[in-house]
């Protein structure tokens, strides 16, 4: 009998429970990536998750770390309070596109701009999931949702908001990258980005944000496999993947902004 070798196990930070997420939903993949990163940095004992409102409000049922719920959009403010009060903790917010880019735009922009030393995991699936498929700030033009039954129009709803571009227009944020979980190769890249963001937080560098393009087959009314293709073919062209800010590689000159 051939000797068996373990090549993959469930990360310790991931709880062994049945998922409530729909088939083909990206949240499960992203939860696992975060759990792997927490394991690899051995920070499970000092990590705090700030959960949002939306499908992923129950992220704390999957991740075996201390957690707190935030009101819709307020996760960056709650995370600010936690991290400022106990800087030894590793704090991350897990936010969807409605949470972060609609109701919580103010909070995310200002936490990013203060350079709060926490990590935001931003899951962009171009739609509101939990409330049943309404228009999100990141919904694509012509995309049909329950509140854009004729498709998103520029005239009525404007263009989708590109969060990485918006956040990286600020000077303070330390690391901003957009990745995707649409295929195995992208998932590997996504993990590298999450790991980098946590690494920078552990080093106390400042605000880090990873945007993950993800799928919502249920509310898109697309089959799970096809929905991954939809991410690649429809979302990615408008939301280009890549690093938008990495201050470990660029100098920032404060003097231009100083009145001294």
């Amino acid at each position: 009998m051939a000797k068996m070798k373990t090549v993959q196990t469930r990360p310790e930070a991931l709880i062994d429970v049945t998922t409530h997420y729909c088939p083909g939903c990206g949240h499960g993949i992203i939860h696992r990536l975060i759990a792997e990163v927490i394991d690899e940095f051995e920070i499970q004992d000092r990590t705090v998750l700030v959960a949002p409102v939306g499908c992923s409000v129950l992220a704390y049922n999957y991740l075996d770390v201390d957690a707190i719920e935030a009101a819709h959009g307020r996760a960056p403010a709650v995370a600010t309070g936690i991290k400022r009060a106990n800087p030894n903790l590793i704090v991350f917010t897990y936010q969807g596109d409605g949470d972060l880019a609609a109701i919580g735009t103010n909070e995310i922009i200002h936490a990013a701009n203060r350079g709060e030393n926490f990590t935001t995991i931003f899951v962009n699936n171009a739609i509101y999931g939990m409330t049943g498929g309404q228009l999100a700030p990141t919904t694509l033009i012509d995309q049909i949702t329950t509140t854009t039954p004729r498709g998103r129009s520029v005239g009525n709803e404007g263009y989708p908001i590109r969060v990485c571009e918006l956040v990286s227009s600020l000077i303070t944020p330390y690391y901003v990258e957009r990745v995707s979980v649409s295929n195995a190769k992208n998932v590997r890249k996504a993990k590298r980005a999450i790991k980098k963001a946590f690494q920078f937080q552990i080093e106390g560098r400042g605000f880090t944000l990873v945007e993950l393009l993800s799928s919502c087959p249920t509310n898109w009314s697309i089959e799970p496999v096809a929905s991954m293709k939809w991410v690649d073919e429809k979302m990615e062209p408008f939301f280009p993947l890549g690093v938008y800010r990495d201050r470990s590689k660029e100098e920032v000159d404060v003097s231009a902004a100083s009145c001294k």
Partner: protein, 353 residues
């Protein structure tokens, strides 16, 4: 006790918070409470504390939640329109059972109103304010000294009960200067911290939340909260009274408007009218029982004086009207009831005009 200092109410409140151990303050500018924000910005770094001028009142109250969740009770302050914005967070914090201190140096409303003193946020403060079935402690100072003393009490109540404590003041109390002294220190507060988020080292993970989707679970959670509120209603009532027996009328008020009533009592004495004074210090929990007791025993009429259209009036009526009549005199939009007006009102009630 420290030396007597002349301080504005807002500054006295800020210093008292520091003495009470407040090391985290989050706030957004709004008149007439800006002196608190400025004071905390100046003082907190001196004691290794954290000050953030937040992007909004909403963000500030959520920062208070975050800091509180780690076991560091934080404070935020604002004035009426800003307190409306904080109601979302106050509701969550209460559901989460996290201690927090919120200061409302209230102003005239509705809407933008004005920056003059007002007591028109009584309902909002004492009847919940945000969504859901809940209460918060509401403390109503009437002097600069009490702005300081009750702030220290607010931190204790918040941590003891894991609830929100609100200081409900007004523009006059915030900005007027009076002599004030501070205690050198406050008693240590050793309430259990077996709920805070500090990383799951050596224990099961903890969750601070107010979401209970499984059928019946929210009901249990709410029953637990209500039990706590009922217990607090028994144990934490504070009020002040003077000459409530053998008087012709009971003057009931709180905060700034009560100051005019004390003066009115003096004036009435000169006319041979005896007035008793009753001042709830905690507006929640409200001293219903004591007021009922007074009414039943004395049967004297009561005059409630407020800087609103009659909000505390409803609570006084609930306690008092079964036994004796309750009258009201109020000023709106920034007026402070003068002692003369109160005196005239009393004479009218007693038929001595």
């Amino acid at each position: 006790m420290g030396e007597k200092q002349l301080l504005a109410g807002n500054e006295a409140l800020g210093e008292a918070a520091i003495i009470a151990g407040c090391r985290h303050y989050f706030g957004y500018p709004i008149t007439p409470q800006n002196e608190i924000t400025a004071y905390m910005a100046r003082r907190l770094p001196e004691v290794d504390g954290v000050f953030i001028q937040s992007e909004s009142e909403i963000a500030a109250i959520n920062m208070v939640l975050g800091a509180g969740a780690t076991g560091h009770t934080a404070m935020t302050s604002s004035s009426s329109p800003g307190i409306s914005l904080k109601q979302e967070g106050i509701s969550y914090i209460t559901g989460d059972e996290v201690p927090a201190v919120v200061v409302n140096v209230s102003r005239g409303g509705p809407g933008l109103g004005n920056i003059a003193p007002s007591q028109s946020d009584y309902f909002q403060a004492t009847k919940g304010g945000g969504h859901g079935d809940y209460n918060i402690f509401v403390l109503a100072p009437h002097t600069v000294q009490e702005m300081a003393d009750l702030t220290i009490t607010a931190f204790d109540l918040a941590e003891k009960w894991r609830m929100v404590s609100m200081i409900l003041a007004d523009g006059v109390l915030g900005q007027m200067m009076e002599p004030c002294t501070f205690p050198d220190s406050v008693p240590e507060r050793n309430y259990p911290k077996d709920w805070i988020l500090d990383g799951k080292k050596g224990r099961e993970k903890r969750l601070i939340c107010s979401l209970y989707l499984v059928e019946g679970v929210l009901e249990k959670h709410n029953e637990k909260l209500q039990k706590k509120f009922k217990k607090a209603e028994k144990e934490e009532i504070r009020f002040e009274e003077k000459d409530v027996e053998g008087s012709d009328i009971l003057l009931v008020g709180y905060g700034t408007s009560f100051r005019g009533q004390i003066e009115a009592k003096r004036q009435l004495g000169e006319f041979g009218v005896k007035a008793g004074l009753f001042r709830p210090i905690t507006l929640w929990p409200f001293p219903y029982d004591r007021l009922s007791e007074i009414a039943e025993k004395t049967k004297m009429p009561a005059l409630v004086v407020e800087m609103n259209a009659g909000q505390m009036l409803e609570d006084v009526r609930m306690a008092y009207e079964r036994f004796a009549p309750v009258h009201f005199y109020g000023r709106l939009g920034g007026g402070i009831p003068t002692p003369e007006a109160v005196t005239a009102e009393v004479k009218k009630i007693l038929g001595k005009g």
